[in-house]
């Protein structure tokens, strides 16, 4: 008995194979996205952990002006510290032949004969500098690749005012510079190099013999990072300490963590929607199956099958589809996870590739898919169980229709009979129409929410560099200099406007919370650097008070009117109390702003500046940059244009990849929804459509009746999807980590257009497949049977 019923199951599945596959594909997309993103997330966490462990990445980092080597023993005595290393680290201008804009090299003193016990380097190519060989360096792999350099390459570095020639002999990876930036939140690989150089040579060049300016600590298991940071700050204070940082605040780790966490959001929000849509479709298909098989169900009941056996039969039908989708989804997820992890491993330059798909992920995905399907199948199965045998044996009464609202209002003549059929069908089964509309809208929304990131980043870049940081060239001085330096800059070729500012490293404290950042002083009426909130409203600096980025105020637990302890980490190392004059909802960073005049008064060092923004004449840019390279005081020169160009190139590739993957997913959902709906409609109305064909209607005329309804539903769904996409994007942004950057909710018309077009194309494709079936309606057979 059971065997026969199972044969029926297999045949039903076979006869609906295209539908079965299209639903399984929707489920597979959901599971694939879920597993792909989350396994990438856990693999990256795992890779990072492995890398940090094998490279023995430090737990605490600190820099100072100049501390004596004798302090090292005291560092080891800090409670909780397992190991301490000291070194010399200096930033300097770097030039390569044929590259006009200056680049920055971070020079790290290194003992190649006895490598340090932490932040171990992995040699990627070439060799270590030979003992005693002068000017040999190892460069970070990212810069090497971004610049397309060769081993043996000569480069010039401005060492303490003297141009030195260095030779590149090897490339390396360091856990400290997985993300190498000059401090910004964007990859900066073309303009920022990390060079490991013989420690004695570096110390000699900067008069740092017997001294250090950088400290690395590794802590004992379970030791508190905050305690070590505080103790280290106290020890370094007399030597110009710039404030220690725990690993969480280390520049590279912070960006890495943000990137990794984004994966998690993608892996949970979007797949949840995919699974929901799959449940919708499954529900509709099962309903249709049950209705079409009323007679068979009645016969089964008459033969003595009980409700449970019949319900189980349909539940199995759903389960087969789901399990097929799960199997495909696991494969897809594994593929996607491996590909994404590979991409990120390359991108982050992890020395080894680790991918693993944890079993619990597969179990959760399978469970979620089965639960979603069970939910979808439940309503349909309830109908089966309720059906009485005698009732099921009778053919269903003709479906009831009534005039449309528009006709009841007296505008019947506005519609052709075909339009009336379409509209009345929609009106009669509003729930099904709604499900189709919702399903298609969901695919539009998913696509928008996946692709809008490109818009958000583009808009962010545009705002950041046309409205916030408007300097075309930014110059940073190695040390704060008197305001008079302004005149030097304004005399350089092509300089049209100079605007100075000062940034002082600072540790801000409020109660037990503290944060190391820079206190930035802006001139009154500064135009090249402005403080804007997320709505691009300019925030006013409050005289005598500090203006905090809202996320920093939140982190410190302060509100306007509260006070902060500020410890300036250079110069006179003033400790003072500052009033919070206000907070500003800035998109990026954790900044503290003051009027330049107020900052200088607090620092008690006179009218000093530490950097300047320039507006320049493009034609003279080259000679300006050549001149800046020769200025020892100008330690950092950033050309906004080149920064933005590099960024656009990198982000364009990522955006393209995500757009492609999500478009494929969205199209799969759209096809799944539209095609299945069309097939169900066709099955239910085959008799009606064939009758029309018998009456002399052409294939095209008949197709319009069915496909017109779909077209109408898609036309309704697309604008609805636009709205849903907007809110889904907002939801994703809300879930995203925002300790560095707040993504703006910006969606360009082109993104809506793309989403609408992809889904409309999927609709057309589904229509074409179904159209083929309409063309082959069995005219003779349909007349003999009454559905």
């Amino acid at each position: 008995m059971v065997k026969a019923l199972d044969r029926k199951l297999l045949r039903d599945l076979w006869s609906l194979k295209t539908q079965v596959v299209s639903i399984a594909l929707v489920i597979a997309c959901g599971i694939g996205g879920f597993i792909g993103s989350l396994s990438t997330h856990s693999s990256l966490l795992w890779s990072r952990q492995n890398y940090y462990d094998t490279a023995r990445f430090a737990h605490v980092f600190a820099t100072a002006k100049r501390a004596p080597a004798s302090l090292e023993a005291k560092l080891r005595e800090i409670p909780g510290v397992a190991e301490a290393e000291t070194r010399v680290v200096r930033d300097a201008q770097l030039s390569l032949p044929d590259v006009v804009p200056p680049m920055i090299a971070r020079l790290i003193g290194f003992d190649f004969a006895h490598p340090p016990g932490m932040n171990r380097l992995t040699l990627k190519s070439g060799r270590w500098p030979a003992r005693g060989a002068k000017g040999e360096v190892v460069v970070n792999q990212r810069f090497f690749e971004a610049r397309g350099l060769n081993l043996g390459q000569a480069m010039r570095v401005l060492l303490n005012g003297r141009l030195e020639q260095l030779t590149l002999v090897g490339t390396a990876l360091s856990p400290e510079y997985i993300y190498a930036t000059r401090g910004g939140a964007m990859p900066d690989d073309e303009w920022f190099a990390v060079l490991w150089i013989d420690e004695r040579a570096l110390a000699a060049a900067f008069n740092m013999e017997g001294a250090f300016n950088s400290v690395l600590l590794r802590l004992q298991h379970g030791a508190s990072s905050e305690t070590a940071v505080a103790a280290l700050d106290r020890l370094l204070e007399p030597y110009g300490g710039f404030g220690a940082l725990g690993r969480d605040d280390q520049a590279s780790d912070k960006i890495l963590a943000q990137e990794i966490n984004q994966q998690k959001v993608f892996g949970t929000v979007l797949p949840a929607i995919f699974l929901l849509v799959a449940a919708f479709i499954l529900n509709v298909v099962l309903h249709r199956q049950v209705n079409a098989q009323r007679g068979e169900i009645a016969a089964l009941k008459a033969l003595g099958y009980d409700d449970r056996a019949i319900a189980w039969h349909y539940l199995k039908f759903a389960s087969v589809i789901v399990l097929l989708g799960v199997a495909l989804g696991l494969w897809l997820g594994h593929w996607l996870g491996t590909a994404l992890t590979g991409l990120y491993t390359d991108f982050f330059h992890f020395p080894e590739f680790y991918y693993r798909l944890e079993p619990w992920l597969a179990l959760v995905a399978t469970g979620a898919a089965l639960a979603a399907a069970a939910l979808g199948a439940l309503a349909a199965i309830r109908g089966v169980v309720r059906l009485r045998a005698a009732e099921a044996l009778r053919p269903p009464a003709p479906a009831e229709f009534r005039p449309l609202l528009i006709e009841r209002l007296g505008y019947a003549e506005l519609l052709t009979p075909a339009q009336r059929m379409i509209m009345r069908n929609l009106e009669r089964k509003p729930l099904r129409a709604a499900i189709t509309v919702v399903g298609v809208a969901a695919s539009v929304a998913i696509l928008i929410a996946g692709v809008f990131w490109g818009d958000a980043i583009e808009w962010f870049m545009d705002v950041q560099f046309s409205q916030v940081q408007r300097a075309q060239v930014s110059v940073g001085f190695a040390e704060a200099v008197p305001r008079g330096a302004l005149h030097d800059l304004s005399r350089l070729p092509g300089v049209k406007q100079v605007e100075v500012q000062r940034a002082v490293p600072v540790r801000l404290r409020a109660g037990h919370r503290s944060y190391r950042t820079a206190l930035s002083g802006l001139e009154d009426g500064a135009r090249l650097q402005r403080v804007l909130d997320a709505q691009l409203r300019e925030a006013q600096l409050v005289p005598g008070a500090v203006l905090l980025t809202a996320r920093l105020a939140e982190r410190l637990g302060v509100a306007p009117g509260d006070t902060l302890e500020a410890e300036l980490l250079e110069g006179n190392r003033i400790k003072t109390v500052l009033r919070v004059g206000g907070t500003v909802d800035e998109m990026v960073g954790s900044n503290a702003w003051m009027r330049l005049e107020d900052l200088n008064r607090v620092a008690r060092e006179g009218a000093l500046v530490s950097g300047a923004g320039l507006l320049v004449d493009r034609a003279a840019e080259r000679s300006l940059l050549e001149r800046l390279k020769e200025m020892p005081a100008a330690a950092v020169v950033i050309v906004t244009r080149t920064l933005v160009e590099t960024f656009r190139e990198t982000s364009a590739q990522n955006v393209l990849f995500f757009t492609a993957v999500l478009s494929a997913f969205a199209a799969t959902i759209a096809v799944g929804v539209v095609y299945n709906n069309a097939r169900i409609q066709l099955a239910e109305r085959a008799w009606e459509l064939a009758s029309l064909r018998v009456l002399g209607f052409t294939r095209a005329e008949v197709s319009v009746l069915l496909l017109g309804e779909l077209a109408l539903e898609i036309a309704l769904a697309i604008p609805l999807g636009f709205v849903a996409g907007y809110w889904l994007a907002a939801l994703l942004i809300a879930f995203m980590p925002h300790d560095v950057l707040e993504f703006p909710l910006v969606i360009y018309p082109a993104t809506y257009l793309l989403a609408g077009a992809v889904v409309a194309a999927a609709g057309v494709l589904s229509a074409l497949i179904v159209r083929n079936r309409i063309d082959n309606l069995d005219l003779v057979g349909v007349l003999k049977t009454r559905e």
């Binding site: 229709f401 009345r424 018998v694 002399g696 003779v780």
Partner: protein, 235 residues
């Protein structure tokens, strides 16, 4: 016989049902005159419906030749057959085949919208005695009323032939007679050639000619001495 509308020679139809071959028609020759009322009788599987479907352009013969006036139906492609049905043939089926989402008038309008010189939908429904129920949906009509809407839909295009497959099969006695009256009236007053398939031998009395089919062949042909009106027959 008046000038023939249908002429068929050696009509054969073979279906392949899996590995079995079903010979639905095994060489049928016939000629149907304009305005004739033909009744096709025969047991299930005798080939009645297949013959009607081929004449109506719903199906094509495996072999043989069939003409409608000067149209060669054999070898016509799907588009030509569709046009043939649209212009010349009215169908009435056992199960009415009305569109549930359209009212009586709109079901008829489906045809009048695409026909060359149709009668108004209201007039066609008037012919079948449904002038009062124009705006009712199929679900609001009785079986006999639904069948009369189907007939109105079939005749609204002023077809040359009306092909009816078991038109009374799903109806009770009284309603069935009413439907037959309508078909007879159309045949008599509009001169439409009518072919009616039935299991009901009593209906033969209404015919000009009765064709008996058996095993895919015409096995007998009778001309009733006097053509009865539907009121005169009973079963």
């Amino acid at each position: 016989m008046s000038e023939p509308v249908f002429q068929a020679r050696g009509l054969t139809k073979t279906y392949h049902m899996g590995e079995a071959e079903v010979h639905a028609l095994r060489g049928v020759d016939l000629a149907i005159g304009a305005g004739e009322f033909i009744v096709l009788l025969g047991p299930s599987g005798s080939g009645k419906s297949t013959l009607l479907n081929i004449l109506g352009g719903l199906d094509v013969p495996s072999a043989g030749d069939v003409r409608f006036l000067d149209h060669q139906l054999t070898g016509a492609d799907e588009a030509e057959l569709t046009r043939f049905r649209r212009e010349h043939v009215g169908f009435v089926f056992q199960f009415y085949n009305l569109i549930p989402s359209l009212t009586a008038r709109e079901n008829v309008a489906l045809v009048t919208d695409i026909a060359a010189a149709p009668m108004p939908a209201d007039e066609a429904l008037g012919w079948v005695g449904l002038a009062e129920r124009l705006d009712h949906f199929p679900s609001q009509l009785s079986g006999g009323e639904q069948q009369r809407v189907a007939i109105a839909r079939a005749i609204a295009k002023r077809p040359q032939v009306l092909l009816c497959d078991e038109p009374t099969g799903a109806l009770d006695y009284e309603t069935g007679k009413l439907v037959l009256e309508v078909i007879a009236k159309i045949n008599a007053e509009l001169g439409t050639t009518a072919m009616v398939i039935t299991h009901n031998a009593a209906i033969s009395g209404m015919a000009d000619r009765v064709l008996r089919l058996g095993n895919g062949r015409i096995v007998g042909e009778e001309k009733p001495a006097r053509k009865l009106s539907p009121a005169e027959i009973s079963w």
